[in-house]
């Protein structure tokens, strides 16, 4: 018997395999649930305990891996958000520029509405103060320069800027009211006291002064100074600035008045050249 089993052990084992296999199939009926039996229970318990220990041991590794992957994701998200932030900052800067330009253009439109008799030609400031002795800006004309002549007034939404010094193609130099060579006939709006506005030409000061203002004329700090329109070069009632300081002596015919220009020349970007005035 033993010899038979030894000789045909593979066939015997295969038979056992098949018998047990089919037997279990028939008993279980293909079910994946059911009683494990005493031996199966022991195996299951031992395996479950071992796997529990293995899971606990691998928990640290998987936790480390999860944290690493989380960091990788955070890094990627960080880079993406940084790019997006840069894009938003660029867009915001551009929009701020557009808003500021819009405000300036609204001011210019407002100036045109306040002075409907003036024909205005827009120009953009492209350079400033190329010479220490002069207060001159260069502007680029937005349209044809055929209408522009030397001496034409230049204004901005804030008030009088100066006059055209020379024209070359689409570019023109504008002599500012704060230049020493500039002279504009002005009146004090409150009492119509008249004088000549001259630039002081200081290095770090855009202030002007009014010459030939009679000493008996009562003017105070804060009074608004506008163009008089006399002389035919500058249109009338364009704001020039406000009186900042009054120096009245006890002698002489005239008093000296310092005027702070209405225009902030350091931030000038768009101007209008007055190419026509219907009142003249």
């Amino acid at each position: 018997m033993l010899e038979f089993l030894q000789k045909y052990r593979t066939a015997v084992m295969l038979s056992v395999f098949l018998l047990v296999g089919f037997g279990l199939v028939l008993v279980e009926g293909g079910q994946t649930e059911g009683a494990l039996g005493p031996l199966g229970g022991v195996v299951f318990q031992a395996s479950a305990a071992s796997q529990s220990a293995l899971t606990a041991a691998s928990g640290g590794i998987s936790g480390f891996w999860d944290r690493h992957m989380e960091l990788v994701r955070v890094k990627e998200e960080n880079a993406r958000l940084r790019d997006e932030l840069h894009r938003v900052i660029d867009e915001r800067t551009r929009l701020l520029g557009v808003m500021q330009e819009n405000a300036r253009l609204r001011g210019l439109v407002g100036f045109q509405e306040d002075h409907p008799t003036l024909s205005l030609l827009p120009a953009r400031v492209v350079a400033k103060d190329v010479n220490a002795y002069f207060r001159v800006i260069s502007v680029r004309l937005e349209s044809t320069s055929a209408l522009v002549r030397e001496g034409m007034p230049v204004v901005s939404s804030a008030g009088l800027v100066g006059q055209v010094a020379n024209v070359d193609g689409r570019f023109a130099d504008v002599l500012l009211t704060v230049d020493r060579q500039s002279a504009v006939d002005v009146i004090v709006q409150r009492n119509r006291a008249r004088g000549v506005l001259e630039g002081r030409g200081f290095d770090n000061d855009y202030s002007t002064r009014i010459s030939y203002l009679l000493r008996r004329d009562e003017v105070d700090e804060g009074d608004v100074v506008v163009t008089s329109g006399m002389g035919g070069r500058f249109p009338r009632d364009v704001i020039v600035g406000r009186i900042a300081e009054v120096r009245r002596q006890n002698y002489g015919l005239f008093q000296e008045v310092v005027v702070e220009p209405a225009v902030d020349f350091s931030r000038l970007e768009e101007v209008f050249i007055v190419v026509g005035d219907e009142t003249r």
């Binding site: 098949l18 199966g40 299951f44 899971t55």
Partner: protein, 170 residues
């Protein structure tokens, strides 16, 4: 004696795979440990030893995975038969070939399991699941067979040191 060592090694591998599947989150795919060990036994020992080890490991695997022990037992038989044939026709003693053969054997075992389940459990669902699960699981089994066969070779008192030099790892 080595049969017992192989069964214990397979059982430990089953536990490790069970945990790894959970940790790595491989979904429904898994490594067919019983096939890996059985292929090794057929190739390096004889069919009788392979049947004993397969019997034990299939019951263990089925117990750990929740049942269907009969189908698991019967399902692996085609894999054993094919491996026995391959042993005589293909040089499956080399590590890469034996691991590669595990891919085929795993497919056969899964097919056998699905076929038995389909016969005794009506419906085509089992075959659909076979097509969905078996290919990826077979590939995983092939990869896992490389270290596992290497490990079993180290444990094998007959093969380690006395195996024909220079042939096994080629």
């Amino acid at each position: 004696m080595f049969n017992l060592v192989a069964v214990i090694a397979g059982w430990v591998a089953l536990l490790v795979v069970g945990v790894a599947v959970n940790v790595v989150n491989m979904g429904v795919f898994t490594v067919n440990v019983a096939v890996i060990v059985t292929v090794y036994m057929v190739v390096h020992r004889d069919t009788f030893d392979a049947l004993i080890v397969a019997f034990a490991l299939c019951l263990l695997a089925a117990t750990l995975s929740g049942g269907a022990r009969g189908a698991t037992l019967l399902g692996i038989l085609p894999a054993i038969g094919a491996t026995w044939w391959a042993k005589g026709n293909i040089d499956t003693e080399k590590l890469w070939r034996s691991a590669g053969w595990c891919v085929v054997a795993s497919l056969l075992a899964d097919f056998g399991f699905a076929a038995v389940m389909m016969l005794f459990e009506s419906g085509k669902g089992w075959m659909n699941m076979f097509w969905h699960v078996a290919p990826a699981s077979a590939l995983l089994t092939g990869f896992a067979a490389l270290p596992m066969h290497g490990f079993l070779h180290m444990l094998d008192p007959i093969l380690s040191g006395t195996h024909e030099e220079g042939t096994w790892l080629k």
